[in-house]
């Protein structure tokens, strides 16, 4: 018998093992839900799958009575737009400041302590100040994402820029490059795939901040809906929404990973 550490499951076993815990979770949910519904047929905490199916049908495929919109899609569009703008601006700032502080020692000396300090401030605790600065409109929602993830992105990309082998920076200089050209033709292109990795890492937090922002002041969005219906414990809506968010998060992560592999083969080839 091989030692456990040397034993590799086959293809089929890998799939089966991977699906098993999900199947178990499902069974546990079913049992718990049945037990609660037995005791109180109106119980809202662990709705039956049929109730969730109804809720999905209602939210996704029937126009809302109030606004005539298909709520799930309207919410998804609103949230994804905010997420895209927030993460996009953060990525841009992370890129610019990360490159500048990672490449230029003087910029690093001036900005790094501030960024470190800011990265430690819990954004949820300073919401009132954020409101004054950015109002309560779309900007504010997006701003919470930006404030939440930009310091991380900057610090990560600064690190990555500093990790570019000194040999390559020297090489650029021997080829006649000035500082600007070193940034443009060495640091920036090499940071791009690392930016994608950093964005992938920060997406979890971005979702968190998005949901928090939508819980604060909004009229649509996935987080808005969840916090709104939480008022009457509509788990039949919340659970499918959570699943949907999880799926979206997974899809975005997957697409970013794919894009990076396709666009930056040299990065993935050498790692």
């Amino acid at each position: 018998m091989k030692k456990l550490i040397n034993r590799q499951p086959g293809r089929v076993a890998t799939w089966a093992l991977g699906l098993l815990p999900f199947a178990l979770l499902l069974v546990v949910y079913l049992l718990a839900s049945d037990a609660r519904l037995e005791a109180n047929p109106n119980d809202k905490l662990l709705p039956a799958f049929s109730a969730m199916g109804d809720a999905i049908q209602r939210m996704a495929f029937e126009p809302s009575k109030r606004s005539g919109e298909y709520l799930l899609w309207a919410d998804t569009l609103a949230s994804l737009t905010r997420l895209a703008i927030g993460v996009g601006i953060s990525a841009l700032m992370g890129l610019v400041f990360g490159i500048v502080t990672g490449t230029l020692p003087y910029a690093r000396a001036g900005l790094s302590p501030l960024i470190t300090g800011l990265s430690l401030v819990p954004p949820m605790a300073i919401l009132p100040i954020l409101f004054i600065l950015f109002g309560l409109g779309e900007l504010a929602k997006v701003m919470l994402i930006i404030i939440g993830i930009t310091p991380f992105l900057i610090r990560d990309l600064q690190q990555r820029a500093q990790e570019i082998p000194a040999e390559q920076v020297i090489k650029m200089q021997t080829l006649g490059a000035n500082t600007w050209q070193i940034i443009l033709r060495l640091v920036w292109p090499q940071i791009m795939p690392r930016l994608i990795s950093a964005v992938r890492l920060s997406l979890g937090s971005a979702w968190l901040f998005l949901i928090a922002a939508e819980a604060i002041a909004a009229t649509e969005g996935l987080g808005y809906r969840i916090f709104l219906v939480r008022r009457y414990l509509s788990m039949d809506v919340i659970l499918p929404y959570v699943l949907w968010i999880t799926l979206l998060a997974f899809a975005i992560d997957f697409l970013l990973a794919r894009y990076s592999r396709w666009r930056y083969p040299w990065f993935h080839g050498s790692h």
């Binding site: 109180n40 119980d43 002041a217």
Partner: protein, 324 residues
């Protein structure tokens, strides 16, 4: 089934603050001992979460308004009894506008409030009173903790909320109070709600809670009591007085019994049920506003076969008659 240990929860609102005094001063324990049971009084910071926890069965009783009692536990199938009718809001909830001192000016504005809460109900009633409807405005759901700072931003020109947030907002020179709950007295009612089955099996719980509550009410004008409440609410004595003044607190059990027995309660619950139904709060399965029956001493509103919220003056009556 009979038990001897219970948990009730409360959240920070002027009408419920006395529960903390009762717990801290041992009044609740004293009454629990008297009926040979244990009662744990738990503070929950987030109001909605406290009701959700109660609805999910984590607590035997919880403080909430009449509207939330109908739309959360009752609509969720948890048969609930309003054991103690503590007060009704008599100015504690209000609508504030910037740059206008007439409610009519709200037309076309975005109104920030906690959607589907009593503020929303207040707004609906207010709009009604000037011949407007919800279609004339846009409701922006805003978390209660953030309403005060939201008011400081230029984007926000109208909002509806309750105390102490309302009091803080009114301090701002820009704020004009254009409507408050004193114009709809008795419609926003603050309750101690307990699970009906639990109460039936354990009358001792009802007796102990009610007895404790009216003993606490006896301290209403003590300075120690007021100071305690002010501290818990993180305000000062003036702030507390302002909040108490806007509250019709039934410190005498007789008054609460009278209020509960009056036919107006049934009408109020009808309005609340209709509002809730219009906003989908009674659940998608609800065919009409009367889907969830509400039992009041003046009769049952709605579906007799599906009574889930009961206003039961039995224990308050006992208190009024000194039988506890």
């Amino acid at each position: 089934q009979a038990r001897d240990s219970f948990k009730v929860c409360w959240s920070i609102y002027v009408g419920w603050l006395p529960w903390d005094y009762g717990a801290a001063e041992g009044i609740v324990d004293k009454w629990a001992d008297k009926y040979d049971i244990d009662i744990e009084v738990v503070q929950i910071n987030d109001y909605i979460e406290s009701i959700n926890q109660y609805t999910a069965g984590q607590f035997d009783g919880c403080t909430m308004t009449n509207m939330d009692a109908l739309t959360i536990p009752a609509a969720g199938g948890v048969d609930s009894t309003a054991l103690i009718v503590g007060d009704f809001s008599n100015g504690n909830d209000g609508i504030v506008l910037k740059d206008a001192d007439k409610l009519e000016a709200i037309k076309g504005r975005r109104v920030n409030l906690v959607e589907l809460s009593v503020s929303h109900y207040l707004l609906a009633r207010a709009l009604d009173s000037v011949g407007l409807s919800e279609r004339d405005i846009t409701v922006v759901n805003t978390a209660d903790a953030d309403l005060v700072s939201a008011f400081n931003t230029p984007d926000v020109t109208a909002l509806a909320t309750w105390n102490p947030l309302l009091g803080t907002i009114k301090e701002s020179p820009e704020a004009n109070l254009v409507f408050d709950s004193s114009k709809i007295p008795g419609e926003i009612i603050d309750l101690m709600v307990v699970n009906t089955d639990t109460l039936k099996a354990n009358p001792a719980l009802g007796k102990a809670l009610t007895g404790a509550w009216y003993e606490i009410m006896g301290h209403l004008n003590d300075s120690g009591f007021r100071q305690h409440l002010a501290n818990v609410a993180a305000t000062d004595l003036d702030g507390l007085r302002m909040q108490l003044d806007a509250t019709r607190l039934f410190d005498k059990a007789e008054d609460a019994v009278t209020f509960t027995n009056s036919p107006a309660l049934k009408d109020t619950m009808q309005k609340v049920a209709e509002f809730s139904f219009d906003h989908g709060l009674l659940g998608e399965g609800a065919p009409d506003a009367g889907f969830v029956g509400v039992e009041t001493p003046a009769g049952v509103y709605g579906n007799n076969g599906n009574v889930k919220l009961r206003f039961d003056p039995t224990y308050m009556t006992m208190a009024a008659e000194g039988e506890l």
